[in-house]
């Protein structure tokens, strides 16, 4: 059987609602909080259809997935389907009792995000008082012997804290520490001026993370994700369009990545209207950037396209206006000048505080 297009992971975005409002939020920028969320039965069916397609990993995410009160049912079903289920959360709102229930229903792991190693700074970036509750949640995860990933989105204001972040991860007994630089799409692109670190900041952090990776090998996995803006070549976004991942968004759209529906002219299907296998194999949206027929000449004439698949389609669109262009992060892209000028801007504005543009809270859960 052909494994070239086989999804291994379903990313279930259960809701766009979230009590936090980080300036690099992964929600679509235009989201106003009025969309209808698909119901429990639909999710249960989607999990089953995903498993039949070959999915073995399930990420329950959002927004903030804890705001769904059917999370227990979803975890239980996922466990019956032998899906390796990871809860990706801010940790708010949660009680120890609810987390214990998740564990006993078969949850396999928890990823908690912190915005900074310092409480006031973390709360400022999150736009809500949350740091101390996150600490408690991470301690509960460890107490329940669930694997813990501590995730930090890095940007200009917190990237210099990398040693403190590593120490915090060690203190909460994390199994994995994800030091992931913001990628400049969606909200992060809107706030790029305030977020993009300088090359020097990135290099310093990368070196420290690499040392930690060796130091903790076998006990804590340390992952450092470079911002695309400082890579010479694009990464293989989602390991290739429609190859390994399916995202289902809160409204039921099945997507190759969580922002794919922000690209103009693409048609995506809703899981309430069409079976997931049919969508995966036959829908226009999923087939749009599969194979190499669509590749721009720059990529077609370059050996790297078998590894990076032309890079990120959303980045290509948001920078060049053309979703079929080479990812401008690539030094071979004709639009690479945009990335170079963003880097220059970052180095010139180093040290100058810039205000974040926050998502407004109307329609989101109040704490």
């Amino acid at each position: 059987m052909n494994n070239e297009y086989r999804p291994y992971t379903l990313i279930a975005e259960l809701t766009y609602r979230c009590p936090l409002r980080c300036p690099y939020c992964s929600n679509p920028v235009g989201y106003t909080g009025h969309g209808n969320e698909i119901d429990t039965d639909t999710w249960l069916r989607v999990f089953q259809e995903a498993e039949a397609l070959g999915v073995v990993h399930l990420n329950l995410t959002g927004g903030e997935p804890l705001l769904r009160n059917d999370l227990e049912q979803l975890i239980e079903r996922a466990n019956q389907l032998e899906l390796y289920t990871n809860l990706i959360t801010s940790g708010i709102p949660l009680t120890f009792e609810r987390l214990s229930r998740f564990a006993s229903l078969g949850l396999n792991g928890v990823q908690v995000s912190v915005q900074s190693a310092r409480s006031t700074e973390s709360d400022r970036i999150a736009g809500a008082s949350s740091f101390h509750r996150k600490l408690a949640v991470m301690q509960w995860v460890a107490a329940l012997e669930l694997p813990l990933t501590m995730n930090v989105v890095l940007h200009r204001d917190n990237i210099d804290e990398i040693e403190e972040l590593i120490a915090l991860a060690e203190r909460v007994s994390a199994d994995r520490l994800e030091l992931a630089n913001a990628q400049y799409l969606g909200w992060a692109l809107k706030n790029r001026l305030a977020l993009l670190p300088t090359r020097q900041q990135v290099e310093t952090a990368r070196t420290i993370a690499a040392q930690a990776r060796e130091q903790f090998r076998g006990t804590m996995e340390v992952i450092f994700v470079t911002p695309d803006y400082y890579s010479e070549h694009p990464k293989s976004c989602m390991e290739g369009w429609g190859r390994r991942f399916i995202v289902v968004n809160p409204e039921g759209l099945a997507l190759p990545c969580h922002l794919a529906h922000t690209l103009p002219g693409l048609r995506f299907d809703n899981v309430t209207k069409r079976n997931l296998a049919d969508i995966w194999h036959h829908s226009d949206g999923f087939n749009q950037f599969r194979g190499d027929g669509w590749l721009p000449d720059v990529c077609r004439n370059c050996d790297r396209h078998t590894k990076d698949f032309g890079g990120c389609r959303c980045q290509a669109f948001h920078v060049t206006g053309n979703a079929c262009a080479t990812d401008p992060v690539c030094s071979l892209s004709p639009d690479h000048g945009f990335i170079e000028s963003a880097r220059r801007q970052a180095s010139q504005s180093a040290g100058i505080p810039v205000l974040f543009e926050y998502r407004t809270g109307r329609g989101f859960a109040q704490l």
Binding site: M1, N3, Y8, Y84, D175, G218
Partner: protein
């Protein structure tokens, strides 16, 4: 030690974060852990299944040598140790250095 035995008394055990499951699409076993997984060969699957915390490395190798008579104990011990080292490097097995 002769016969390829290591004398190692530790009893390796898969980490709590690891799930071993059949991949119904390929009929091979997958070792799943957060964000990713490993597709195991038949031998690797046999070794992983014996990492229960009850067997020493030598006992695992001896057992496999009885099942795979065409392969020497020395070779099997080496394979088991290499595989466990790979797992340990990723934090997927406990009680093994």
């Amino acid at each position: 030690m002769t016969n390829g035995m290591t004398g190692d008394i530790a009893r390796p055990q898969l980490s709590p974060k690891v799930r071993l499951r059949l991949d119904r699409r390929t009929s091979r076993y997958l070792l799943l852990y957060p964000e990713t997984g490993l597709e195991l060969s038949r031998t690797a699957t046999e070794i992983a299944r014996l990492c229960t915390g009850e067997w020493t490395l030598d006992e695992i190798a001896q057992y496999l040598a009885r099942v795979h008579r065409e392969t020497s104990l020395v070779e099997i011990t080496r394979d088991v140790r290499d595989f466990l080292k790979t797992l340990a490097g990723r934090g997927l097995v406990q009680n093994f250095k």
